[in-house]
Structure formats: structure tokens, C-alpha cells
């Protein structure tokens, strides 16, 4: 039982990261029906920008650990949001009227561009966050040592996801996003500036991805320029698992994928954990082709 709970917390912490990245995929898909393959690399950029800001600004001299993290998170989210919006403007908007496949190819190109840009700017070796930013205490519950940061990471992801959900459901901009997701033409007729809505989607999604990158850097310490590929793939899987285009689906899918991986590693085989996760995905898609929450909510996003 102890082992089970320990693995559950392991899985949920990783799953929280997947879910945050998956939100970016799912929002863009909801509005544009486009898989933004460059999203994983925006996550990488978040991790690297966080490291640069942390080491150059010397925030630790003025603020406590959590102050540093909050200021850093806001800055990283802002910067990555700008990169995301620029990506949309340069790589996707000119292709808005062309075939959907053209945009997918453009996304792949953007991904390769970002990955190599990060490598050329920062170098191909591992980069390491300073170790003394966050307190390394562990909480002792149920006879288990669970690192405090791990719980905070999960908590932060959940808070961000709930915040996003409320934003989409309760605000005027959120309503506009939902309207554009259902029918762009009709939304335009109702006086909604769809280009601006898409721009907002490309601000929010990358901001969350960047925050996930910063969290990974702060907690795990080690980052490299190819990390976005693996996380991006897993997050994309999570988005499909939960039903792509659906925000609660991305959250459920992400957390579930993390837990399936941890449990697969714990009770079957570590080397097979990815295979197990993808088998579960296939089974779910056979039973529910639209993903777990794909049908429950009538409109996408």
C-alpha cells in the first residue's frame, strides 16, 4: 500500500506537467484544428529562459525562495507567451486559408527551428539550474517521505488548470474563444475578432507550457535542448487520451498518463512503461474514439 501511494504521488507529479503542456495542444486544436508541433519546444524555451533570468537577474538577493519562483514564473510565462504569439503570426497566420496539412508542416518546421536555435544559443550540453533555490524538505505522511516540491508542483498545475477553466467558462474573452472554437464564421458575424482570439490562445497555451518548463527546470535541475520532444509527445498523447480540444480532458488525460506510467513501471516493467502507456491509449481510443471526455462536453474547448 505504501508503495502504491508513493508511486501514485510520483505519477501525479509527472502527470501534472504533462497536463499543463497538453493544455496548449488542446486549446490550439480546439480553435484552429491544428496540432502545434512546436509546442514542446516552447516548453524547452521556458526552461532555458527561466535559467537565464535566474542566473542573470540575481533575484535571490532580494526575495525569498517562493518570491523568486513567483516573479520568475510571471516573467517566463510572459516571454514565452510573446514567443508563442510571434510563432502564430509568422508561421500559422499566413497559412490560415490554405490546406490544414500546410500548417502542420509549418509547425514541424517551427519545431526544428526552435530546437536548433536553443542548441546554438545555449550549446548542446546539459544545463543545470542552481540547487539552492527551493528548500529540499520532505513531508512525512503515511510513513512516506514525499518531497514538498513535488506536492507544490502538482498543486500549482492544478491551480493553473482550474484558473484556465474558469477563465474560459466565466469571462467574456473565454466566451469568445469558445465561440470561435465552435464556428469561426458565425463568431465573426457576431462581431468577434477571430484573429485576436487566436492570438490570445497562442498567448495562453505557450505561457502554460513555459511555466511547465520552468517547473521542470527548478525541480529536476537538468535541462537540455531536446527535452521538449519527449514531453511534447507525452503531452500530445495526454491531450488525445482526454479528448483533444477539451480542456478538462487535457487535465484528466495528463494526470492519468502520468499515473499509468508510474504504475506500469511499478507493477509490470520499467523498460515497458511507455509501451504500457501507449497500449492503454490504444484501448481507450478503441472504446471511446473521441477520448475520455471527448463527448461529454458538447462543444469543443
Amino acid at each position: 500500500m505504501e508503495l502504491f501511494i508513493q508511486q501514485l504521488t510520483n505519477g501525479l507529479a509527472v502527470g501534472g506537467i504533462y497536463a499543463l503542456i497538453a493544455l496548449g495542444y488542446t486549446m490550439v486544436y480546439g480553435v484552429l484544428k491544428l496540432i502545434n508541433f512546436a509546442h514542446g519546444d516552447l516548453f524547452t524555451i521556458g526552461a532555458y529562459l527561466g535559467l537565464t533570468l535566474l542566473t542573470t537577474l540575481g533575484l535571490t538577493n532580494y526575495l525569498g525562495p517562493f518570491g523568486v519562483v513567483i516573479v520568475l514564473a510571471l516573467m517566463v510565462m510572459g516571454l514565452v507567451a510573446i514567443v508563442g504569439a510571434a510563432l502564430e503570426r509568422v508561421a500559422y497566420r499566413p497559412l490560415r486559408q490554405s490546406h490544414r496539412l500546410s500548417a502542420v508542416v509549418s509547425a514541424l518546421g517551427a519545431s526544428i527551428f526552435f530546437q536548433n536555435a536553443v542548441m546554438l544559443i545555449y550549446g548542446a550540453r546539459y544545463k543545470v539550474y542552481p540547487h539552492d533555490i527551493l528548500p529540499r524538505t520532505a513531508i512525512h505522511i503515511f510513513g512516506l517521505d514525499i518531497p514538498l516540491i513535488r506536492l507544490l508542483m502538482l498543486l500549482t498545475s492544478i491551480v493553473m488548470m482550474i484558473g484556465l477553466y474558469l477563465f474560459i467558462q466565466r469571462t467574456k474573452i473565454g466566451t469568445a474563444i469558445r465561440a470561435a472554437a465552435i464556428d469561426q464564421g458565425a463568431a465573426k458575424l457576431m462581431g468577434i475578432n477571430v484573429d485576436r482570439v487566436i492570438m490570445i490562445v497562442f498567448l495562453i497555451g505557450p505561457a502554460l507550457g513555459g511555466a511547465a518548463g520552468l517547473m521542470v527546470g527548478l525541480y529536476y535541475g537538468q535541462i537540455n535542448f531536446t527535452m521538449g520532444w519527449l514531453y511534447g509527445l507525452k503531452a500530445f498523447t495526454a491531450a488525445i487520451l482526454g479528448g483533444i480540444g477539451n480542456i478538462p480532458g487535457a487535465m484528466v488525460g495528463g494526470l492519468l498518463l502520468g499515473v499509468i506510467e508510474a504504475m506500469g513501471a511499478a507493477y509490470i516493467s520499467i523498460a515497458w512503461k511507455d509501451a504500457i502507456a501507449f497500449c492503454v491509449l490504444i484501448i481507450i481510443l478503441i472504446v471511446r474514439p473521441t477520448g475520455l471526455l471527448g463527448e461529454r462536453v458538447a462543444e469543443k474547448i
Binding site: A13, M227, A262, A265, I270, K273
Partner: protein, 372 residues
């Protein structure tokens, strides 16, 4: 006038052949250019330094050594041409080279020419499995490390052992090798599995491993993952000793794990040249520093020096430059020759037998310390 010129020419030629007959020519094939140029240039400097030393001391049985160097560019095609050039120059043996693929391209050419080749950095197993009589090497084979790991784990007195690799052919090979040897010896392998490289979170694996309750964990993968494992292990408050393979020998390991988590981590690796501590090695390092005002970059280059010393020893002992006699001597009679990198003997395949790998331990301030 013409006669005098002719006489002079004839004298020169005679003198030339007379000098040539007095020297023993040994070839060196090294990557002087290309991606491994730093290794190759070290190899050249080392071999020349040692040849000079031998010549200063009166040569081998009164004959001086002459080194004939060819550049293989770290490239198999260039190496084949270099090997052909070296084969036609009346050499006794050829020292080198560094990369396994490069050595492989030249092996057949030397063997056909009946020329002894002593490779220094080519660790691929297959090189000595082809039944080539004249091929030898001073570096260990890839499977040697498994044996060293087995010994280190056995000497540590660990009863239950966890082995973790990363599914790369190198890491899995090492893990399998160590596992087979340990199981034959009756050790209890409580955990054997692979992680996915380039992930950040290995806590699920560590949790599972902890439940198996091993006395020691042997990780055969690379330093990036090793650093994360150490860091996350400390966060779980799990104090199990970790042993790594030679792919963990990188200072970035300490950066990733943090000094506190890395302290006490042990890994297997050939010694860095600065840690070679035999009498011969220390004399060599002093001479090298004096002549070139630098230190050799890696142990692989130093192994080319051992190649030359072994060949010189064989010529001295047999009093002959006949290749068959020399090979027979090195394989059968040369026993625990005091090399720069430790004791050297060769088996029938021409592989080095003997200790090269050492155990290193990370100290509290993040330095790699050679263990006695």
C-alpha cells in the same frame, strides 16, 4: 668530375642503407587531423618521446628506433590508405590507432602484410574475434568492464544487487555481462531493468528499486541520467551506494546531482593520466611535462606509449625482428610487463589481460578521487 660525383652519390647511398639497416622502424598510425586530432597528436608526442628515451639509453640491443608516422584522419578510408603506405616501408610493427572503426579498416591490410598492429583506443569486441594473428591491443575490450564491475561489487561484500541500464547496446551489454558473472557466483540480483534516457523523473524507478531493498545499485548508463538518479535518490532519503560504469565519468555529473547527492558515488573508469601511479608512469609524466609543457589528455593516448614499450620489450627479449617470433613472445611469454597504465599481458587473441579499470569515488566537494 663526373666520377667524383658518382662516387659521392654511391657513398651517400651506402651510408643511407647502412644507417637504415641499423635502425628498427616502427610505424605509428594516428588521427593527427579530424575529430580526434587531439588524441592523435598526443599519441604522436608520446610515442616520439618514448622512442627518444629508448634511443638515448642506447636503443634496443644496440639498434636505434625510428618512428614512421602516418595520419589516419580518424576516418576508415584514410586509414586504409595510410595502412597501405605503412605496409611497404619495412616496418616491424605499427602502433595505433584510436577509433574502433578506423582500426577495423586497417586490420586486414596489416595482417596480409604480416605486420604487427598494436591498437591503443579501439575497444570494440569484434576486432579481436576475427582470428587475425598479428593484431593486438593495449586497451581493454568492452566486455572487460563487466568483469571489473563484478570484482568491485564482490569485493564490496554486497549481497543483494540491483542492476539498471538504459537499453543502449553499450549499457545493456555491460549490465548483462556483470549480471551473468554475478549470478554464476551466486550473488542475488534483486532488480534488473532499464530506464528511458532523457527523461527527467526517475522517481517511479527509484521507488520500485527501493522496494527490492538492494545493498548496492549498479547503473551502466550515462552521466546525465546518473546525476538525476542520485539527486532524486537523496530526496527520497534513500542511502544506498551507487556504482556507475565509465560513461558516468564526466564532471557534469556532479553539477546535475549537486555535490551533496553526488558525494560517495563510485564509478569504474580507466585512470586519468594524472592518476597513473606506477614508477614508470610517474617518470613518463614528468618527462612528458618537461618536453611538451602539458599533460596528455586521456589514458587512450598513453596506451599507444605502452604499445611501443611492449614491442620494444619483445624485440629486446627475442633479439629478433621477425614478426612471428615477436607475436608469439608477446602472447605467450610476456607476463605482467610493467606498463605505464599498469601490468600488461596478452591472451591468445591479442587482447590485453590485466587491470586497467579503476574505481573512482566522488568526494564531498565533488572531486573524482581514485580509490586504492
Amino acid at each position: 668530375m663526373k666520377k667524383i660525383l658518382f662516387l659521392a652519390l654511391a657513398l651517400c647511398l651506402m651510408a643511407g642503407t647502412a644507417v637504415a639497416a641499423d635502425t628498427i622502424k616502427i610505424g605509428l598510425m594516428a588521427p593527427l587531423t579530424g575529430a580526434w586530432a587531439s588524441e592523435g597528436q598526443d599519441m604522436q608526442q608520446i610515442v616520439e618521446l618514448l622512442a627518444d628515451e629508448i634511443n638515448m639509453a642506447g636503443g634496443i640491443n644496440g639498434q636505434k628506433i625510428e618512428i614512421v608516422t602516418e595520419d589516419d584522419g580518424g576516418d576508415p578510408r584514410t586509414a586504409a590508405l595510410a595502412a597501405q603506405r605503412l605496409s611497404t616501408q619495412g616496418l616491424v610493427a605499427v602502433i595505433g590507432t584510436y577509433g574502433s572503426a578506423v582500426t577495423e579498416a586497417s586490420q586486414g591490410i596489416y595482417d596480409e602484410a604480416g605486420l604487427i598492429q598494436v591498437a591503443n583506443g579501439s575497444t570494440a569486441i569484434r576486432l579481436s574475434e576475427k582470428g587475425l594473428n598479428y593484431f593486438m591491443r593495449t586497451c581493454p575490450r568492452d566486455d572487460e568492464q563487466g568483469l571489473v564491475a563484478y570484482k568491485a561489487l564482490k569485493n564490496g561484500g554486497y549481497k543483494s544487487i540491483a542492476i539498471l541500464h538504459d537499453n543502449s547496446s553499450y549499457a545493456k551489454g555491460l549490465a548483462d555481462e556483470a549480471k551473468t558473472l554475478l549470478e554464476k557466483d551466486g550473488a542475488n540480483i534483486v532488480f534488473y531493468d532499464a530506464l528511458t534516457p532523457k527523461e527527467n523523473d526517475y522517481s517511479a524507478i527509484l521507488t520500485k528499486m527501493k522496494a527490492a531493498n538492494p545493498d548496492v545499485v549498479f547503473f551502466t548508463g550515462y552521466y546525465g541520467e546518473a546525476g538525476l538518479l542520485l539527486r532524486q535518490k537523496m530526496e527520497m532519503n534513500w542511502n544506498v551506494p551507487f556504482l556507475g560504469g565509465d560513461a558516468t565519468n564526466n564532471p557534469d555529473l556532479v553539477k546535475i546531482a549537486g555535490k551533496e547527492a553526488a558525494a560517495g558515488f563510485m564509478f569504474l573508469s580507466p585512470p586519468v593520466p594524472q592518476d597513473l601511479n606506477s614508477k614508470e608512469a610517474m617518470a613518463f609524466m614528468t618527462a612528458y611535462k618537461k618536453k611538451y609543457n602539458a599533460e596528455p589528455g586521456s589514458v587512450w593516448a598513453v596506451l599507444s606509449g605502452d604499445g611501443l614499450r611492449v614491442v620494444a620489450e619483445a624485440i629486446k627479449a627475442t633479439g629478433s625482428t621477425d614478426q612471428d617470433k615477436l607475436v608469439a613472445y608477446m602472447k605467450n611469454d610476456l607476463d605482467n610487463f610493467p606498463g605505464l597504465t599498469g601490468q600488461i599481458s596478452f591472451n591468445d587473441k591479442g587482447d590485453r589481460v590485466g587491470d586497467l579499470y579503476r574505481v573512482y569515488k566522488v568526494s564531498a566537494d565533488g572531486k573524482f578521487m581514485l580509490q586504492p
